[in-house]
């Protein structure tokens, strides 16, 4: 691995009142410029990992260490870490124009003036592939489709030029065609900016297409990590093997015979 961006050691997360921890004893390194997929089903702890990395969990619920050898100072969420969430309909402010929300990140974290920030927000709207950026920046979230809103979510997450972009089920609410477009966009933007990408997904096939490395989570534990090819073709953990066997793609034998 190249230079280490972040190192997770003995990470545990326990939510108040929960019977068992959301994450237990996670150890993982992420290299600068790497595209890592974190794969797991519901309750695996994969989204908790995203929140822990972004520093969005209450201090008392987290144990262990996350260090950032690749950064000169501890990261600030929004500036050094951008997060794209599953449902941009929830994560965007419904009463602010989408350009304002992007500009706000630039004013707050980059120190631009409002007019500068607005100009840069329009550029970002164009860079995420939305038509007529000056006009789209003035739209409210409800005036955009789900895929367009997710592009705005990406523009906002990338606005301050973060070292790390976390996409947490960022395409799960979208149809497969829009999902493929959004992933291609993320892939291109992260490469252009030499950012690091952590793609959190329940879909191991998707992970294998877009990531260099895959970390598989199950029941709050990291059960396996390896190159995308190794994990999908030679899984070392029984859970991973089961997940792979459960995949349905265009080569899976159909479950049905001829119609009755």
């Amino acid at each position: 691995m190249s230079e280490v961006l972040l190192r997770i050691e003995g990470l545990g997360v326990r939510y108040p009142k929960a019977q068992k921890p959301a994450l237990s004893d996670v150890n993982l390194e992420v290299g600068r410029g790497e595209r890592l997929a974190v794969v797991g089903e519901s309750g695996s702890g994969k989204s908790t990992l995203a929140l822990a990395l972004a520093g969005l969990l209450p201090r008392g619920s987290v144990s262990g260490n996350i260090t950032w050898p690749g950064l000169s100072a501890p990261p600030v969420a929004g500036r050094d870490i951008g997060v794209v969430f599953q449902d941009p309909g929830n994560s965007l402010n419904p009463v602010l124009r989408v350009g304002e929300q992007i500009a706000e990140v630039l004013v707050r974290h980059v120190g631009l003036s409002w007019p500068e920030a607005w100009r840069r927000a329009e550029e970002l709207v164009g860079q995420v592939g939305l038509p007529d950026p000056a006009r789209t920046a003035r739209a409210f979230p409800h005036q955009l489709s789900g895929g367009q809103r997710q592009r705005i979510g990406i523009a906002e997450a990338l606005a301050a030029g973060p070292a790390l972009l976390i996409a947490d089920e960022a395409t799960s609410a979208l149809d497969t065609i829009v999902q493929a477009e959004i992933l291609a966009l993320l892939d291109r933007l992260v490469r252009e900016r030499h950012s690091t990408l952590i793609l959190i997904t329940h879909d191991i096939a998707l992970a294998s297409q877009f990531a260099d490395r895959i970390a598989v989570f199950h029941d709050g534990r990291l059960v396996e990590t390896g190159s995308a090819e190794a994990v999908t073709t030679r899984p070392s953990d029984a859970y991973t093997a089961n997940l792979l066997a459960s995949q349905i793609d265009l080569t899976t034998p159909p479950l049905i015979g001829e119609a009755l």
Binding site: E41, S42, S145, G146, G147, L174, D175, T176, I177, V178, Q179, A180, H202, D203, I204, A205, L206, S208, Q209, A228, E229, T232, T233, N242, L243, L244, S246, Q247, I248, D249, L250, T251, T252, P254, L255, I256, E258, A259, L260
Partner: protein
Amino acid sequence: MPLLSVSGLSKTFRSGGREVAALDNVSLDVFPGETLGLVGPSGSGKSTLARVIMRLVSADAGSILFDGVDLLSLEGARLRQQRKRLQMVFQDPLAAFNPRATVASALDDPLRIHRIVPAGERRRASEQLLERVGLPTEFITRSIHEISGGQRQRVAIARALATEPDLLVLDEAVSALDLTVRNRILDLLVDLQRERGLSYIFVSHDLAVVRAIAHRVAIMDRGRIAETGPTPEVVADPKSAIGRALVAAVPTLRKAG
């Protein structure tokens, strides 16, 4: 003869001075014992079509023949009589059930409303439905809230089966489930179809799952049927642009090499 025959169905939604043609002259057939996959991107009209067939949304034009009866002209008792022969399962059963429902009340309602069995036998009939969808009969006392998503979807299927329907409309019914849970539900649907000769309309944005379960597929785009045919043929050689895009967008595991 088809069980369900939709012809020339159109539906326009009006909102904020804009008109959106959700369905534009849609025609399709569903035969007894077969699964028709209904696939398309968001906004293609597939869920609207499912809802019009269920009479949850009215149509502007067109007809729906169900077992030879014009479904759109029925009202009152005659509609209820036909309506029990079509049932629907939604993506999110938590949103589809009364939030205070128990498994018992969810299963008892259709048995009572459609007078499927006498009052004294309803409990036993509910337990049999639970057993058929692979849940223990003890589940009958649980609240809909406290069971898992996969278990809840089994209850939704049991409830749909209660009226002994001929057609189930499954609207993204497995899309929110974990893979292993999803596959067991798909197996259950296939078993039920073999056992009872049920027809399914399986609405999904996921062409790979549709290929696994549907005998025929109709691909929708912007309110129209872009393409239809036997599923293996359509997937192997899609003729429409949207069909090609859907095939290309299916995530595929990286293979060795």
